[in-house]
């Protein structure tokens, strides 16, 4: 058996966090090392080095809700899972590696956490690869269509900061910086129809 995965919970309700801790630790694969009630609480205290952060998206400011990673951690390899009282839209959930609902059973939680760990390690590989990721392709296509960072942020529900960082990665991978050059790449690689512009 590999070492237990360290989990941090950020959740305002004590009932929920205590319940989660119990269920998450049940099989012995995970260990809840820290529980915080608010984002402030989280950022003011030493938060250890969790492998997984379980977070209730409602503790984030509305502006940051789509961008939990930038707020919570500087590390790329932390898995971030949403604790959902209610359904969030799909775009918001894309920024998390997984989600746990109020009616999940212990088995489901276990499975979801395992698959979230896998998702985030896939993503990491994705980031390190030289090829563009699916998200990068989408953003590149939007750039080639002439959309501004603001328009792209709105369309994909991302912060402008995230769009800029995607664009940096794209240019770095391709070695192409100008919009005109990116457009040629997009057309040559069939990401875009010539008729599109």
């Amino acid at each position: 058996m590999s070492a237990k995965h360290k989990v941090t919970i950020i959740e305002p309700s004590e009932i929920v966090s205590a319940g989660l801790k119990q269920l998450v630790e049940y099989r012995g694969n995970f260990h809840v090392a820290k529980i915080f009630k608010s984002l402030q609480d989280y950022s003011e205290n030493l938060n250890g080095n969790p492998d997984i952060i379980l977070i209730n998206p409602s503790v984030l400011n509305t502006g940051d809700i789509n961008d939990p990673r930038n707020i919570l951690t500087t590390k790329d390899n932390v898995t971030i899972v949403a604790i959902c009282y209610l359904a969030y839209n799909e775009e918001t959930m894309r920024n998390y590696d997984g989600s746990i609902g109020m009616f999940c059973t212990q088995e489901q939680i276990e499975k979801k956490l395992q698959s979230a760990l896998k998702t985030s390690s896939d993503k990491e590989q994705d980031d390190n690869s030289n090829e563009l990721s699916a998200r990068e392709c989408e953003i590149l296509t939007a750039v080639a269509k002439g959309k501004t960072n603001k328009e792209i942020a709105d369309e994909f529900n991302l912060s402008i900061h995230t769009v800029i960082s995607h664009r940096k990665n794209i240019s770095h991978k391709l070695g192409i910086n100008s919009i005109a050059g990116l457009t040629i790449y997009a057309v040559m690689n069939k990401l875009l129809d010539v008729e599109d512009f």
């Binding site: 070695g175 192409i176 050059g181 057309v187 040559m188």
Partner: protein
């Protein structure tokens, strides 16, 4: 300058014929209107014969001859300014009259066998780039250089609201698209473009990249500081 240790061993006393070791050093001679046929004359003698400051000549040569050499304006005077501008203007002339038309025709050849879309887009990309270069050079020729040359005229000096620092702000990066073009040719051009035509284009791009880079070192590290000093 801490780069001095890297400097090649040439000085005012070196024979002029000895420093002509590469095509880029040869092009300096050409741009400074120095005639070949040096015999055994030293750099100092040849510069005197051509009414050129030896200091300036040596600095320009070192920019081309020594990788990552950063020149300063020590020992340069006001009288060197028109000479620097002449040098930059002749470089511009070489680019617009010879280099870029040549690159254009090489790109044209390279794209001949590509499909319609790639051909059209890359031609347009290059035309836009060409336009950008022209604008950049026109701005220097029509705004920056006349301003600098007017500085010696003390009456005009104060009337002019332009300052060399505006030039720095306007000094847009014309190398970015060249990089893009290079990577597109290396990485993404369809196989239908012949290998030899690509290699020709890439060799030209490497040449101009280096030339543009040295050119902006001369503008940023010699011309602008020198002009600011007398502004």
């Amino acid at each position: 300058m801490d780069n001095k240790s890297n400097a090649p061993s040439f000085s005012a006393k070196t024979k002029m014929s000895e420093i002509i070791t590469s095509s880029s050093l040869l092009s300096i001679i050409e741009r400074l209107n120095i005639k070949l046929g040096f015999g055994e004359a030293s750099i100092n003698e040849i510069c005197h014969r051509n009414n050129l400051s030896t200091e300036l000549f040596l600095k320009i040569c070192k920019v081309y001859a020594v990788e990552s050499f950063v020149p300063d304006i020590e020992n340069l005077t006001r009288e060197d300014i028109p000479e620097i501008i002449g040098y930059l203007q002749r470089t511009h002339k070489y680019w617009t009259e010879s280099f870029f038309p040549n690159l254009h025709s090489n790109i044209h050849t390279m794209l001949e066998s590509c499909d319609g879309t790639s051909k059209r887009m890359l031609n347009k990309f290059y035309d836009d780039y060409d336009e950008e270069i022209k604008k950049h050079l026109d701005y220097e020729e029509n705004t920056v250089f006349p301003y600098i040359l007017s500085l010696s005229d003390s009456e005009q000096k104060n009337a002019n609201s332009y300052r060399i620092k505006d030039f720095e702000e306007n000094h847009s990066n014309i190398e970015e698209k060249l990089q893009d073009l290079k990577n597109i040719v290396i990485k993404y051009l369809p196989e239908s473009a012949s290998q030899q035509s690509r290699i020709n284009v890439l060799n030209e791009i490497f040449k101009i990249e280096d030339d543009l880079n040295k050119h902006s070192i001369i503008e940023n590290k010699i011309l602008i500081p020198l002009v600011s000093k007398f502004e």
